[in-house]
Amino acid sequence: DVKVTQSSRYLVKRTGEKVFLECVQDMDHENMFWYRQDPGLGLRLIYFSYDVKMKEKGDIPEGYSVSREKKERFSLILESASTNQTSMYLCASLLRPSYNSPLHFGNGTRLTVT
């Protein structure tokens, strides 16, 4: 069974801090995604990656960057955390860039920026 692991369930950070959210998948999936989830807005795509060292912007990349140095790990970086980045962050992976594959999600990281 596919396992997508997010390193932290809860994080509290201060405004201006640099924040790293880590995500690891164990099934050699090619595509990985970072979403943020806010009440009433559903899931919004921040960045995704379809290969090592490759990344693509999603709908709301401002204030974020990503790193994918190894296939199994996809990191989301908040360069200078702000209070409007308080949210639930969800990482997901996808088996291969083919059609008709489901996403596999981690359990999420609830980030609070004070």
Partner: protein, 109 residues
């Protein structure tokens, strides 16, 4: 940008009743998927329906897809208290996955 929009935003029913949730979307798709999220957790994939399919079943779940109307529905039959969760539709176009805001389902025992 959001692709799918679920309707209703919230639904409350008694155990044993059926629950129907709807999803509308705007552009062409390869497939449409439904996910479930228990409070504060990640999303779990429930069912996938391809664009050339019209109906699909999985246990107590029944999904329909009408590509001419760009809409889908998820029916949960004989609901249980454990079905209480948020349900999301997601549209897939060339692995560009877009989600709606979800339907919050409450099943009262």
């Amino acid at each position: 940008s959001q692709q799918g929009e679920e309707d209703p935003q919230a639904l409350s029913i008694q155990e044993g009743e059926n629950a129907t949730m709807n999803c509308s979307y705007k552009t062409s798709i390869n497939n449409l998927q439904w996910y479930r999220q228990n409070s504060g957790r990640g999303l779990v994939h429930l069912i996938l329906i391809r664009s050339n399919e019209r109906e699909k079943h999985s246990g107590r779940l029944r999904v329909t897809l009408d590509t001419s109307k760009k809409s889908s529905s998820l029916l949960i039959t004989a609901s249980r208290a454990a079905d209480t969760a948020s349900y999301f539709c997601a549209t897939d176009k060339d692995n560009d996955m877009r989600f709606g805001a979800g339907t919050r389902l409450t099943v009262k025992p």
